[in-house]
Symmetry: C2
């Protein structure tokens, strides 16, 4: 993988003891824009917390602003009670393909992954909560917040929303073919390459209880057949001296 | 969601303090076969470990046998050194769709999720390691183990493979339409239903370094266009009195 030698100065992700890559450094991305790209492509994360001494990774939805990650936090209930000041980890992973090498040892996965470390702040201010839920909803289905009924005061109170600072994060991305094309294994009669994985929005399925005469809004119909976790237009891999 | 009232006795997942569902109990599945189905459909998991007191969820590959989950464990290096006897959590999540309700509050995700708790055992026996890697490789791309070059003794030694007992696990599955079809919100002029998400294998992309004349093996070509995380033929949801 090409090292990032981008000549235009872009904000970097600060390296901490937690975000310093100890393995597969060549997959590490250090620009703040790399983090933004991974976060922008998804809406599901795994929130890692410790409950009764045991780590748990729980899937939940998120939404990202420039500096804050909002996470649906009901799943973190016990963790927040037991250790409100503890650091948690939010991992966002998009699967892009399986890398088939000549040797099993060199097999791998093409993926985009961001890991964010922060002490979650439980959002209590109603305005921020509403805004955080808007960000989270729009991250998943753009256009839906202005279309569906927004939360009542009671619903807002029943929702646990966590805010995580995006200051400490690591990003790893793997793209491209297997790494054993220039090894002795390249002489083997074994096909090598990538099996791409694409995640697509299917055609909307109406609720059987839907009243007749309610049309599909354009912001929903237009997703059909499109990529759920799109790769940014520039591609995830920085170009050398571009 | 229909409660599981399956009349044929099937092995149940033992309920422990960790696997007892505290939220959304209606999504819980208690049969051992539910766990098997979620594990069989995937090959990527998030391994949650504690490093220097901080939880981390790290994506990695897995393979499942009847009683053991094999996990690529290099990512757990520091955790294993710091707390070799600690329980870890492996979470397998397949995203099936976004549930669009009339109200934002009732929005949700259709998914299949299994969380396994176990103290990982580092596999040291070369035969078990080879077998575990075979299971892991076949879980991802069936047919690949007998096709590609299998690991040398040196490669085997350089691989960290973890074995996790499948005895303690919880399973959650959500399927079907939104839950507010019988609420006052059903009177709103808001479309409601599910945006299905389908993850597909794309056409294989050859390594640019691939020698000419190496054909694509049938076990790879046949995946194109098929579901990466297939729903079991019977569907993930148990039928009442079926």
């Amino acid at each position: 993988m090409t090292p990032d030698t981008h000549t235009t100065p872009t904000p970097s992700l600060p390296v901490t003891d937690r975000t310093r890559l100890r393995r597969m450094r060549e997959k590490g991305r250090t620009r703040r824009s790399d983090l933004d790209a991974v976060l922008a492509a998804g809406f599901l994360c795994h929130l890692a917390v410790v409950v009764d001494g045991t780590p748990m990774a729980v899937p939940t939805a998120y939404g990202a602003t420039a500096d804050t990650l909002y996470v649906h936090g009901s799943v973190a209930g016990r963790s927040l009670v037991q250790a409100p000041d503890a650091t948690v980890c939010v991992t966002v992973t998009q699967l892009d393909g399986i890398v088939l090498a000549r040797s099993v040892f060199e097999h791998g996965v093409n993926y985009r992954c961001a890991m964010i470390y922060a002490t979650p702040r439980v959002v209590t201010d109603p305005d921020e909560k509403l805004e955080g839920l808007r960000v989270l909803t729009e991250q998943c289905v753009p256009g839906q917040w202005d279309y569906a009924r927004t939360p009542s005061r009671k619903e807002l109170a029943a929702t646990t929303l966590l805010a995580l600072d995006l200051a400490e994060a690591s990003v790893k991305v793997r793209t491209g073919p297997p790494d054993d094309g220039d090894s002795p294994d390249a002489g083997l009669d074994v096909w090598a390459g990538v099996l791409p994985v694409t995640t697509l929005w299917g055609p909307p399925v109406p609720d059987p209880a839907l009243r007749t005469g309610i049309p599909l809004p354009p912001h929903i119909t237009k997703t059909t057949g499109t990529d759920v976790f799109p790769t940014p237009p520039s591609g995830p891999e920085p170009q050398e001296n571009s």
